[in-house]
Amino acid sequence: MDFSLTKTDTLFLKMIREFTEKEVKPLAAEVDEQERFPAETVAKMGPLGIMGIPIPVEYGGAGGSNMLYSMAVEELSTACATTGVIVSAHSSLCAAPILEYGTEEQKQKYLPKLASGQWLGAFGLTEPNAGTDAAAQQTIAVEDGDNYILNGSKIFITNSGYADVYIILAMTDKSQGTRGITAFIVEKDFPGFSVGKQEKKLGIRGSATCELIMDDCVVPKENMLGKINKGFSLAMKTLDGGRIGIAAQALGIAQGAMDETVKYVKERKQFGRPISAFQNTQFQLADMQTRIVSSRLLVRQAAFKKDHKQPYSVEAAMAKLYAAETAMEVTNKAIQFHGGYGYTREYPVERMYRDAKITEIYEGTSEVQRMVIAGALLR
């Protein structure tokens, strides 16, 4: 097994690190403090191809690998988890299913705009009463001539309000449960579509998280994504890919906190020496670093398998589970090392700790990841 980075990977890391350092990091605290969507960063990422890394060149993308995509989300998230999730939700949850399941017309219509960042994408599955139990969807889609009429609402939708295109899941045959769900590509300007209240959150506060309301929303039939009543499988497979993105985000948060901690323990002096000289510090740092590197190997394994068209659902679940729990542990310890300073907003570890929590929840909770992993074991 070859763990070395390719020359392309290395050159890409050089670029994305420089971009993160110069364009993302300086805004991270402000974006969090003001709960402000970093539109200017998205506008810069688009022309560079960061919003369309794994989209083929013929659809306006960069023609890169999922490995590069995971590296991008990781590096952006070392400085700003908000920026990381904007890219992840856009790429994995909107552009990816259009690429995977879209008709040629849909790909031609939507992918160039999404890949260039001209349009932002989002994904609407979760409802007030349908979280992990996604089959309990109440949004319904009824055929009406050349259109489907959607009614219902979605909550906790990342990128909402700023997104131009939404992948919306709705019941087309309620009697069939999960086999009665269909996916639709909904544009923000479709009649009857609106964005509701924005959530106030613990972390990733610059990321827009809103309710979506479909009130007799008119969606042309040609905007059905994939086949009728096949939306549940489409959503689950889409979330498999999304988990690579969120695992990379969690990994980035952990790495960012680690970098801050290493810097701090060398500077901070207590009892006449830097706290890095204490064995307790060293042993804890060693454990944190081992967990981070383990997470990275899991993330890259999942991305590698996806790139090589191998099944990766379980690998993505393990990567997300482990990286999310690592992010929680590492950011928690990072604050402990920073002591009182770490509890304040003078230092970024406070924000990183708050940002980490969501990675255990969205795109499948840690419990769901364990269900996926155990399910494969006991099949």
Binding site: T8, L11, M15, G61, A62, G63, G64
Partner: protein
């Protein structure tokens, strides 16, 4: 319009360690980058590509690993890359380097030749002007801004110590660019993905028509007598005070050290 940019791979540090015995740079473990002035030169060329559809070639002279910066230039958006490498070029000072580069440049057609002002590992600022002399081309050094009339005339703002000069110069000509003049663009993701499938032309002694005695160590009259690093200064004292108080502190320190 055809533009050629000369670039150099340099160690990524301004505090280079020097081997006290040999007086040469210790390059091990120091990452290599495109020399900052040269990178600004690439940006100038690419901005002319954006506006006037110019064709941009980059050329570097160096060891085989200098290919890395040519790949990076591809990822930024240049059209053609040439690596000038040969054992016969080794040990070159600025004169021998400019001879080899001029030899290669005679094989290329261009309207504008861009070099960086100087490289951060040598700080000589000689290679660009020397190339212009070898090729008998007009040159404007210390470029801070360039405007193109869309035909064949460049208006160049040249930074000098206490101001600037404005020059009008027709192509083909040579300009040497300051790193602050143009902020280099990021490599694009697509550029990175495609950079390693593009052709880097490798030229050696056989491809340039230059007398061997003018190249490499043989063609280098410069001899390094001694290289040394200046001792580390003590860390300064930090004061967080307002301007008036700061002025007072500075005055008293200068008096204390009998500087004034």
């Amino acid at each position: 319009m055809n533009i050629v940019v000369c670039i150099k791979q340099v160690p990524d540090t301004t505090e280079i360690k020097i081997n006290p015995k040999t007086g040469t740079l210790i390059r091990e473990g120091v990452p290599s980058i495109i020399n900052p002035d040269d990178k600004a030169g690439i940006e100038l060329a690419l901005s002319l590509k954006d506006d006037y559809n110019a064709h941009v070639t980059v050329i570097t002279m160096g060891p085989p690993q200098a290919e890395d910066i040519l790949r990076e230039a591809y990822a930024m958006g240049v059209d053609r890359a040439i690596l000038l490498t040969d054992r016969k070029f080794a040990g070159a000072d600025t004169l021998a380097t400019s001879q080899a580069l001029a030899g290669a440049l005679r094989k290329l057609e261009f309207d504008l030749l861009i070099t960086g002002r100087q490289a951060i590992d040598g700080d000589t600022a000689q290679v660009g002007p020397q190339i212009a002399e070898h090729l008998d081309l007009p040159q404007v050094s210390y470029l801070e801004h360039l405007a193109f009339d869309g035909k064949n005339t460049f208006t160049v703002k040249r930074r000098i110590e206490d101001g600037y000069e404005l020059h009008q110069v027709d192509g083909p000509c040579v300009v040497t660019v300051l790193s602050g003049a143009y902020v280099p663009r990021y490599m694009s993701v697509r550029g990175i993905v495609e950079a390693f499938s593009k052709d880097v032309e490798v030229w050696g002694f056989e491809q340039i028509e230059v007398d061997e005695t003018n190249l490499g160590l043989k063609g280098s009259p410069t001899r390094v007598h001694k290289a040394f690093s200046r001792g580390v200064k003590a860390p300064g004292q930090m004061y967080e005070v307002d301007a008036t108080e700061a002025a007072g502190i500075i005055m008293s320190k200068l008096k204390e050290k009998f500087i004034i």
